[in-house]
Each structure stands twice: as structure tokens, then as C-alpha cells.
């Protein structure tokens, strides 16, 4: 099957074709669109490239690659702050399940083979709708199991009804306090909240703040991003979220709140208000957060449903494999004795 497909790097002139595929394919996410990854790569001075998989001149799939050079090695790493960077496959227009499965295998196998030839190392996290990564595994890629939380969208009442009772109570508390959450373009008001959220946990933001602003503005230009800000009756910004989307998939990208407003429900309020806005266009939102022990609880309490996510990794160079193995062994904590 894979003989029928050919893969090659796309030229910038072909990016609109790629973006159209990302926008409509079930496995496409905003993080694979050129506006998102191109902006990130430019801001972080990383290499950005899109590889496309064609058959008879039709683009059937591809992968947006975020590269870093480490010495002699070309490493395709996971882009910071992305939720997904995996392969996008355009489904075939067929009711035949075997045909669809073989098509997915053919596309992923072709792309996996191209990446294998062009990179020493690659890390791809595929959208939860692309769980069949056998086309990669059979070529020697390693798979890992990851997760995400999906929240079914509906009216505020429906969503609050699905959430844990305490979350509903927090929402009402924030409402009583007079908080208001609205779409906004004031990214500068969000960034300090975001920086403080990371600082509170003793962490640095995975992406510098100017890069977040640049990505957000690029997303707004494309009509694929929206910032939501929650303000007190006095007009103080206390919480915010940034949602991104394609035609098919909505994602909650970033969220931040002032810690002193957490107990008054500002964060929960902002989430539900964001979801209510997204419900006008989408049936569900990808909330992520399922892989981090300290974060998953919140997503589950809001009514998140767990989905499997496939992650695939390839390390072609024995030297790189040696370094990874060394790190693996050093990280390892024996408990024998």
C-alpha cells in the first residue's frame, strides 16, 4: 500500500493546502497549522517544515515538524506548549472500514519512513482520533500511551450538571461575586496572569511571553483563536483562557488565574464561560491535563472524559540512543534490597 504514497517536504506556497487539510481532518489540530507552528518556530528560532504525503497528486496526510539541531543530530522535538504535533490523515471517502484502516496505515507508514530518512530523532503526539500508529510501530518507532480529557459541550446548565457538585457551587459563587467573562483581545492583560501561574508552581513558562502574544495574534488573524478574560466588578482581570480551533477540533490551550481568586471560583467560572462560548460552534473541547497527576483532578471534576492518545518516538542514531539510555538509567530509582 505504501508504494502508492510518496512523501516530500512542502514548499511555503503549498502551506494553504496543508492548512486546509489540518482544518478539516479529524486528526488535525491548531498546533499543526502553519500559523501556529510557523510562528512558534520563528519566535524560538527553531526549524519548521511540513512534510506531505501524496497519492496521484492529492495530499492525503502530513506532519508539521518542529526541529532542533543538537550537534550533528537533526531532532524533531515536541513543540513547547503544544498539545499535539502528530500525523494528520485525511480520511478516504468510503464506508469500507478495512479500506480506511489500510489507508491510515499507508499514509502513516509513508510519513514515518520519510521522517526516518531525514531525522535522527522524532517525537510525535497524535490527536486522539489517530490511535492506529501501527504504520510507525512496524518501522521501529516506539509507542507510548498518553491521555487527554474531552469535555462534551452544551448549555451552561448541562455542563455544570455534568461536573462535580463542588464545581457548580464555585461557578455560582463567582457569579454572585459579580465576575464577568468575555471574549477579549487584550493579550497583554492575560500574560502577567500566565507568568504568575507558572511562577507560583516554581516553573518557567515553556514559551516566552512575547511568543505567546505572537502566536495568539497569528491565531486571531486566522480566526482560529480567542482569549477569554474574567474581570471583577472593579474591572480587574483575575482569570483567563485561550482557546484555539480548527473547523473540527476545539482545544483549550492556556489558562491562568490570580491565586487569590481561585477559592472564589474565578477559574471554574472562566472555564465554563469559555466552554459556553465554544458550544456555539463545537460539540466538545479538548481540555488536555490528563497526564499530569497534579492537574488531572481538576479536568475530571469539570466533567472531562478520558481519551487515549498515542505518542510515538524514533531514535535512529545509536549515539543518541546511548544518551537516552544513560538518562533513563540515571533517572531510574532502584529499590532492591
Amino acid at each position: 500500500m505504501s508504494e502508492e504514497f510518496t512523501a516530500r517536504s512542502l514548499t511555503p506556497e503549498e502551506y494553504p493546502l496543508w492548512d486546509a487539510l489540518v482544518d478539516t481532518a479529524p486528526s488535525g489540530t491548531p498546533f499543526q497549522a502553519t500559523w501556529w507552528m510557523g510562528t512558534l518556530a520563528r519566535e524560538l528560532k527553531a526549524h519548521f517544515e511540513v512534510v506531505g504525503c501524496f497519492r496521484k497528486g492529492v495530499l492525503w496526510g502530513g506532519c508539521a515538524l518542529f526541529g532542533r539541531r543538537t550537534g550533528p543530530f537533526c531532532r524533531l522535538v515536541f513543540p513547547p506548549s503544544a498539545l499535539y504535533n502528530g500525523i494528520v490523515v485525511k480520511p478516504r471517502d468510503t464506508d469500507s472500514y478495512p479500506t480506511q484502516v489500510m489507508h491510515t496505515i499507508g499514509v502513516t507508514e509513508c510519513l514515518g519512513s520519510w521522517i526516518r530518512q531525514h531525522a535522527h530523532e522524532a517525537h510525535l503526539t497524535h490527536h486522539h482520533s489517530l490511535l492506529d500508529v501501527r504504520g510507525l510501530i512496524w518501522q521501529g518507532w516506539r509507542s507510548r500511551v498518553r491521555y487527554t480529557y474531552i469535555l462534551p459541550l452544551g448549555s451552561r446548565e448541562e455542563m455544570i450538571g455534568r461536573a462535580e457538585r463542588t464545581r457548580g457551587a464555585m461557578f455560582r459563587q463567582a457569579e454572585r461575586a459579580g465576575l464577568r467573562c468575555e471574549p477579549s483581545d487584550d493579550i497583554e492583560a492575560f500574560l502577567p496572569l500566565y507568568a504568575r501561574t507558572f511562577a507560583r508552581h516554581g516553573l518557567e513558562s515553556p514559551v516566552p511571553l512575547p511568543a505567546i502574544a505572537a502566536i495568539y495574534r497569528a491565531g486571531r488573524e486566522r480566526g482560529a483563536a480567542q482569549l477569554f478574560l474574567t474581570r471583577t466588578p472593579a474591572g480587574e482581570v483575575v482569570s483567563g483562557t485561550i482557546a484555539l480551533w480548527t473547523q473540527r477540533n476545539a482545544m483549550l490551550w492556556l489558562a491562568a488565574s490570580k491565586p487569590e481568586w481561585l477559592e472564589q471560583g474565578a477559574s471554574v467560572f472562566t472555564y465554563f464561560e469559555t466552554f459556553a462560548h465554544l458550544a456555539e460552534r463545537f460539540q466538545e473541547v479538548d481540555f488536555a491535563s490528563a497526564n499530569v497527576h497534579s492537574l488531572h483532578h481538576n479536568a475530571a471534576l469539570l466533567g472531562g472524559e478520558l481519551r487515549l492518545v498515542a505518542r510515538t518516538e524514533l531514535t535512529r542514531s545509536p549515539a543518541l540512543r546511548f544518551f537516552h539510555a544513560l538518562r533513563h538509567i540515571r533517572r531510574f530509582q532502584p529499590e532492591e534490597g
Binding site: S96, Y97, P98, V101, M102, L131, D132, V133, R134, I137, W138, G140, W141, R142, S143, R144, V145, Y147, E164, A290, N291, H293, H296, A300, L301, G303, E305, L306, L308, A310, E313, L314, T315, R316, P318, R321, F322, H324, A325, L326, H328, I329, F332, Q333, P334, E335, E336
Partner: protein, 345 residues
């Protein structure tokens, strides 16, 4: 640690090895757990361990009132200084079984699974140098293990539903339908039989044709089949040529949840006549009314998966978890990874 020693989890769960007298309670739990399979029952694994020189160890997770909520039936082997819980040969699953809580609340069910699997994982880390588990997709949440440092990997199986032959032929691909019809026209017949000795030469020849060792030797297959037959958990289907020669066979194992195509073998001289497809579809049709779901396996082999897919299989994930407590074992695995690549890890 001796058999009686316990590990108490953070949420009040206690994990310990079960005594043989408790095995009936374990077997009941396997049926009550959506992810439970025949391969995790005490009778199956006990016999398999006896035949292959391994040791059966079943660990159970109990709440404060002594109720059994989950567990794991382990195929244990001593390798030098290491006690290893490995994949049992010819078994697609050996993962954890967790009894669901009686609640419609999604989150509570999820938290319950996380707590039980975490308590079990902690026990396994403490008592085994290495543990390898393959979980059915009904136990899709293995985060409590990955959060504790277990490695995870994604594997697959094909699952389908039994149906009458007419329906099966309608959903299969045209090529498979033609193969079936060709075998039928040539006069091949497939039926349930009990003559395991007719199957064994086919089994041996199939593996040898692919240059592979059989996961179980023929006498072990025979013993396991007879045991499962006694428990009415196995069926053998044999296809005969028009001359009456056995040319294809399939052993089906059954449990209250579903059935499994355990072993499948074919005479190479009859492959072109469509005999494998004829045997598979005839067998699935014969099971209609007895069981609804068939786990076909075979999804992880590029050379095997396509026929199962075209015969009506729907892809499902299988989750593999692996924990390693010994630094030396870890080094050995990593050395394999450095030299052999991703597959070796």
C-alpha cells in the same frame, strides 16, 4: 517477602497474594471485571504455569472491609536473582482486573480504577524485579502506573461480532467473499470437532513454515485444550478437504465476556483455495448465538493483520505496561535498545 505479607495503599486498600483457597473468589472477580479474560483465571494460568515450569501468583486488592476489588494473575519466573512477572506464552492478556463500583458517576469510577491499579502497581514494584502486563482496552486508564514510572506501549487487537454466515459474507470484502465461495464450491467443509490430534500437525507445520518456534509445544496445546474443553470453554473447528483430510483448524476459547481465536493453523497446500477465510468465517458463524464478541488478535503483525481486518475485525487498543526494579536488568534492556533500536526496549 513471604506469601502472607501485605502492602497497604494510600487509600486504605491492602494488596496481598491470594491463597489457593481464595482462587474461586479471584475467578469470580475476573468475570465481574470488564477487562477480565479467561487467560487471567486461576485454572487456566495454573495449568499453563505447571506445563511450562513457571509459578502462578495471584495478587488481590482488598478494601478495609475485606472486599476484593481488583488483582492480577502473574506468570512468574525466577531468572538468576530476579523474580520476573512475564507475559504468559500464547496468552494475549495478563493485565489487571478491576471490579467496577456500583455508581453511574464517571469520575468516581475513574478514581476507583486509579486507586485500585495504583495499590496493585505499588505491590508489584515491591515484590517483582520486573513486571510486564497487557491490559484489555476496557482497562484503558493505566495512568496510575505511568505516574509511578512504569513504561507504557500501545498494542492492538481486532474484535468483531459473531453473526450468521449470510451477514458475515455481506460485511467482508469482495476478495474474502470470493475466497470463501471458492473453498465452498470445491467441497471443503468446516465443523466443530474434538479431535485435537488432527489439529496439532497443522499447528506445528504453520509455525515451522514461518520459521518460528511454537509458543507452546503440541503436547502443551493439547493439555490446555482438553482442560478448557472440560470446562466448556474451548471449541475446535476443523476444515476438511473434499478427500476428508484435515487442512485447517481453529481453537476458540470462550469466557462470559467474549471468545478468542486462540490458535489458527492451515495446511500450506490449501491456502490458495481460500481455506483460511473459509475456516474463519465458518467458525465465527458457528459461534453466533453462543457468544457475541470475538477477539481475533493478530493486529500487531503486518503479515497477519490484513486478513483479520478484511474478515470484519474492528481495531481496539491493548495497553502494555512494564516496570523494572533492577538497575542491572534495566542496563540489559537499555543495551538492547542501543544496539537494536526501539523494538528492543
Amino acid at each position: 517477602m513471604s506469601q502472607g505479607e501485605e502492602t497497604t495503599g494510600g487509600k486504605g486498600y491492602t494488596v496481598r497474594r491470594l491463597e489457593p483457597a481464595e482462587y474461586p473468589a479471584w475467578d469470580t472477580l475476573v468475570w465481574e471485571s470488564p477487562a477480565g479474560t479467561l487467560f487471567q483465571t486461576s485454572w487456566w494460568l495454573e495449568a499453563l504455569c505447571r506445563l511450562t515450569g513457571a509459578q502462578l501468583e495471584i495478587v488481590g486488592c482488598f478494601d478495609k472491609k475485606g472486599a476484593l476489588w481488583g488483582g492480577c494473575a502473574l506468570y512468574a519466573r525466577q531468572t538468576g536473582p530476579w523474580k520476573r512477572a512475564l507475559f504468559p506464552p500464547a496468552c494475549p492478556y495478563n493485565g489487571m482486573a478491576v471490579r467496577r463500583r456500583d455508581t453511574p458517576n464517571y469520575r468516581r469510577q475513574m478514581v476507583h480504577t486509579l486507586e485500585v491499579t495504583e495499590a496493585l502497581a505499588a505491590y508489584l514494584e515491591e515484590h517483582y524485579s520486573e513486571t510486564l502486563l497487557a491490559h484489555r482496552y476496557e482497562l484503558a486508564d493505566v495512568r496510575s502506573m505511568s505516574w509511578r514510572g512504569w513504561e507504557t506501549a500501545l498494542r492492538y487487537t481486532y474484535e468483531g461480532e459473531t453473526a450468521e454466515l449470510k451477514q458475515l459474507l455481506r460485511v467482508t470484502t469482495r476478495t474474502r467473499r470470493q475466497k470463501f465461495e471458492r473453498a465452498q464450491e470445491l467441497g471443503y467443509t468446516c465443523q466443530a470437532e474434538d479431535d485435537i490430534t488432527a489439529f496439532l500437525p497443522l499447528y506445528r507445520a504453520t509455525y515451522s513454515r514461518h520459521g518460528l518456534d511454537t509458543p507452546l509445544n503440541p503436547s502443551q496445546v493439547e493439555a490446555m485444550y482438553r482442560l478448557a474443553r472440560e470446562r466448556q470453554a474451548a471449541r475446535l473447528f476443523i476444515t476438511h478437504s473434499p478427500a476428508g483430510e484435515p487442512v485447517s483448524g481453529m481453537i476458540i476459547l470462550m469466557d462470559p465476556h467474549r471468545c478468542y481465536t486462540w490458535l489458527f493453523a492451515n495446511h500450506p497446500a490449501h491456502l490458495r483455495e481460500g481455506v483460511p477465510t473459509f475456516t474463519v468465517l465458518s467458525t465465527i458463524a458457528a459461534l453466533a448465538g453462543l457468544v457475541r464478541v470475538v477477539d481475533h488478535a493478530s493486529a500487531n503483525f503486518p503479515q497477519l493483520h490484513r486478513s483479520v481486518l478484511e474478515e470484519g475485525g474492528i481495531l481496539k487498543p491493548v495497553l502494555v505496561t512494564h516496570h523494572n526494579r533492577s538497575r542491572l536488568l534495566q542496563c540489559i534492556h537499555e543495551m538492547g535498545f542501543i544496539l537494536g533500536g526501539e523494538h528492543a526496549r
